[in-house]
Symmetry: C2
Subunit: 150 residues, 2 copies
């Protein structure tokens, strides 16, 4: 067995008003999370679950870099779109409705001259190792992903 390579990530948050917070990670500029006005917010930034989708897009793109280097998979561009469905009755307090994502759909468009078979191998390896995909899989949230060469 290899030795654990444990690392601890940290984020801090400070409430500003209504649903709005300032969030900070390490030395980076603070960023805002909020909710749209119909949910009682001031709509000054992405909402918290949109940051979760950002994490998914970012993580898949990181893993394309990592696995791509291992496979010597050459690519010139990557674009991602993640859509996540919520049923707002969950957070509103209906105990019979799941509060988190019901389903996520992710499109990944890669500009590459590699073959579709190599792309399928990259996708399989990325999605089996990506921490964000792993989290959604563990939570049994379907992540319906479609990767294509452009």
């Amino acid at each position: 067995m290899s030795t654990a390579q444990k690392t601890t990530l940290r984020c801090r948050g400070t409430w500003e008003e209504a649903t709005r917070s300032r969030l900070s990670v390490r030395r980076f500029p603070e960023f805002i999370t909020d909710e749209p006005k119909p949910l009682g917010g001031t709509d000054m930034g992405p909402n918290p679950m949109e940051y979760m989708l950002a994490g998914l897009n970012g993580c898949v793109t990181v893993m394309i870099h990592v696995v791509g280097a291992e496979m010597k998979f050459a690519y010139e561009a990557v674009d991602t779109v993640a859509d996540g469905d919520l049923d707002l009755r969950g957070l509103a307090g209906d105990p019979n409705v799941q509060a988190h994502f019901l389903e996520i759909r992710q499109k990944v468009r890669i500009k590459t001259s590699e073959t579709p078979e190599r792309l399928a191998e990259l996708k399989a390896k990325v999605e089996s190792r990506c921490p964000a995909v792993s989290l959604f899989n563990a939570a049994k949230v379907p992540v319906v992903s479609k990767w294509e060469i452009v």
Copy 2:
């Protein structure tokens, strides 16, 4: 049964270099995700899983606003800290190691003149309805949370 209140959230990402992407949500300014240099990145922004912790802090703070309004729970300040443990062997490809968070610890400090009993009620309601907590619970990631009045 109440009618579903389905909403779809969206985030887009564009790869820039190595592990770095620009992410965008609705009309808000783009934001950067990256990885530290030891992981092959350019370290220009929070990493993807740090955005997941941001989502957790933001979501709990949103739910304190929502549930607090229902309970008429008065508060003046909220600070959150979320720590999440990863074992990097998972993303490095060890199939026996979980790629996502092993454990999350969250501290919530609320400035309030409410009683500890009322705080415990707020905490229980928030954590049972918060989409982010719900996601980690569904994934069986322990979220060890400590709420205190300051």
